[in-house]
């Protein structure tokens, strides 16, 4: 599913060279539920950007579904993100002027799917997260948890190979946070590959595999029994 080999990301700020990723090698198999955990500044956000094809590495290899990502043009990356990756962000990142349904439809529009089919898929995705009754509401008319569920529906609508969640519970209270996590586990059980990025070990523990990152390097990679059972 995901194969990263010897990935480096080096920023030069003035005279200082910052190695945000310092030789990462990581394989993620299909249908795995992986947490990537690390303190701020550890490079986990950079790694997320790489996995999400939002950025390209300074050096190293990255294959997603067997497709090499390096040397791709910006537009090719956009198409790749659209087809392969469903993003769930900390701040939900819904478009405020669009309704829940239109937000979920957006990736399908960029994919060029016909309006009737698009609506069908978006409604199904919203039903999946239990938001079908709220689909004509704008984000500001929804609670944080509801907004995050719409964001999950948006990530699912395109039937991506990988769901990439960046601190999905970061902006939620613990109760709704747990709800969202449970939903992500359900999505995983339905056969999706899920990568969860967090700084919180309690949240990371919900995954079946925990990858720890620090100073741009992978320092731990454990399979959590608790995560599988929970």
């Amino acid at each position: 599913m995901i194969k990263i080999k010897d990935m480096y990301k080096i920023y030069t700020m003035g005279d200082v060279e910052v190695r945000a990723l310092n030789g990462i090698t990581l394989h993620i198999k299909p249908k795995e539920f992986v947490s990537i955990i690390g303190p701020s500044g550890s490079g986990k956000s950079t790694l997320m950007n790489m996995i999400g094809c939002l950025d390209t590495a300074t050096s190293g290899e990255y294959l997603i579904d067997g497709i090499p990502v390096e040397n791709m043009s910006e537009d090719d990356l956009a198409v790749l993100r659209n087809e392969k990756i469903g993003f769930i962000f900390q701040g939900y990142n819904l478009l405020p002027k669009l309704t829940a349904l239109e937000n979920v439809e957006l990736p399908l529009i960029y994919r060029g799917i016909s309006p009737s089919r698009r609506r069908e898929l978006a409604e199904a995705a919203l039903a999946r997260v239990g938001m079908e009754s709220r689909m004509n509401h704008k984000p500001k008319e929804l609670s944080g948890g509801q907004q995050q569920r719409v964001a999950i529906a948006r990530a699912l609508s395109n039937k991506p190979s990988l769901i990439l969640a960046d601190e999905p519970t970061g902006a939620l209270d613990s109760k709704t946070g747990i709800e969202v996590l449970e939903m992500m586990k359900d999505i995983h059980k339905e056969g999706n590959t899920v990568v969860l990025i967090t700084h919180d070990s309690k949240i990371a523990a919900h995954a079946e595999r925990i990858v720890t990152i620090s100073d741009g390097k992978i320092t731990g990679d454990t399979t959590s029994k608790e995560g599988i059972e929970a």
């Binding site: 950025d55 537009d75 956009a78 198409v79 990142n93 395109n158």
Partner: protein, 397 residues
């Protein structure tokens, strides 16, 4: 990218910030309205001048001879002109001398300052004047230097009110005259200086009244408007032979006059459209300015769109459609204001408004121009949006 969705988004974002959108459009609104109003005024002015000139007769030639320096009395005698007309009777149908001066006409306690025009019996044919009441000046009046006068509707209105003017005695420059005829009104509201502010005397009597025996001006009519050029040339040849200098006389025919006015006004029309066009361009710069602000305000939105798979072309389309919608909407508002505004300006300036079908060119032209401006000035901001890096864009709050 789905163009329909982009339209929907554009209208949504215009609606969500109405004041700002209106201010953005203002440049285009003013530009388009200015183009339409200015072009319409010039067109209306051209039309009204044309109708005025055409009402004078399209086969009319005016001959005027400059008096020369002080003390000189350069002139052409009526006899010479009549001979010329007879020789060229196949192209010239009638000739009348025209003697003009200012004077006062008085009836009872009413009086009007107006122009005194001395003419011959043929003048009514040359100018295609119709009588409302009474008769025109006759040959006998000319020969007998009769104290008769034919007046226009404005003079009648001012002097006589509800009374019938025919047969009344009036005083012109303190000499007694009898009103023998009233001309049919040429305009609906007779006003001072207009076509109905006229007073016609036998020319033989007029030269005495104003104490100037020289006739310096003639009105000639060609057989038909097809013979205008030939008739004009015949008169010019005759005058040149007489004076050996073409500075001493001026031959003007209405057809040429109309052409000259048309030319001058079409140049003016272009000039005004050009000036108004500049304000449209300024309006376009305003749109670009606001679109740049919009792009930086919506950096996060652009980031989200890119993250979930928007290509550069999709982002460019979205922002281009938005700026095009703003400027086209401004264009539409400008068209409405321009059409309504030019109607009122025409009414205020006492001109008949340009009919809508004749405004099609300027309306479509200025609308197309505003659309082009919206797209042109939207290109740079749209391209700037499309070039944003999704990570940086997502990071901004």
């Amino acid at each position: 990218m789905n163009v329909f969705m982009a339209f929907k988004m554009a209208i949504e974002s215009i609606r969500s910030s109405k004041i700002r959108s209106l201010l953005t459009m203002l440049g285009v609104i003013i530009g388009v309205a200015a183009v339409i109003i200015l072009v319409n005024i010039v067109t209306a002015a051209t039309l009204s001048m044309r109708t005025e000139l055409e009402s004078m007769g399209t086969n009319l030639i005016q001959v005027s001879i400059s008096r020369g320096g002080w003390g000189q009395t350069r002139s052409v005698s009526l006899k010479e002109v009549e001979e010329l007309a007879e020789e060229n009777s196949d192209i010239i149908s009638a000739v009348s001398p025209v003697v003009t001066s200012m004077g006062t006409i008085k009836y009872g306690t009413n009086n009007v300052n107006t122009s005194i025009t001395g003419v011959s019996e043929d003048y009514s044919d040359i100018r295609s004047l119709d009588m409302e009441e009474g008769r025109f000046i006759s040959e006998a009046d000319i020969e007998g230097r009769s104290n008769v006068v034919v007046i226009g509707e404005y003079i009648r209105k001012e002097l006589f009110g509800t009374e019938s003017p025919i047969g009344q005695t009036v005083k012109i420059n303190n000499e007694k005259f009898t009103v023998v005829g009233l001309l049919k009104a040429k305009s609906t509201n007779a006003s001072a200086g207009g076509e109905d502010d006229v007073m016609l005397l036998p020319y033989s009597r007029a030269t005495r009244l104003i104490r100037n025996a020289n006739i310096n001006s003639f009105m000639v009519s060609a057989v038909s408007s097809d013979y205008m050029t030939e008739a004009t040339e015949a008169i010019e040849d005759f005058l040149y032979k007489k004076f050996k200098n073409d500075d001493y006389y001026n031959v003007l025919n209405t057809a040429e006059l109309i052409d000259t006015i048309d030319d001058a006004l079409s140049v003016m029309s272009l000039l005004m459209a050009g000036i108004a066009g500049i304000s449209l361009v300024v309006g376009g710069i305003g749109i670009m300015n606001i679109m740049l602000v919009t792009v930086s305000e919506r950096t996060r939105e652009i980031g989200i769109r890119k993250a979930i798979g928007a290509r550069r072309a999709s982002i460019i389309t979205q922002f281009l459609i938005e700026s095009a919608v703003i400027s086209c909407l401004g264009g539409l508002i400008g068209i409405v204001l321009g059409v309504v505004g030019s109607y009122f300006v025409c009414v205020a300036m006492d001109m008949s408004a340009v009919p809508l079908p004749e405004q099609t060119t300027v309306i479509l032209g200025s609308f197309a121009f505003s659309a082009v401006i919206g797209i042109f000035f939207g290109l740079y901001p749209a391209n700037k949006a499309a070039k944003l890096n999704p990570i940086d864009a997502l990071r901004t709050e």
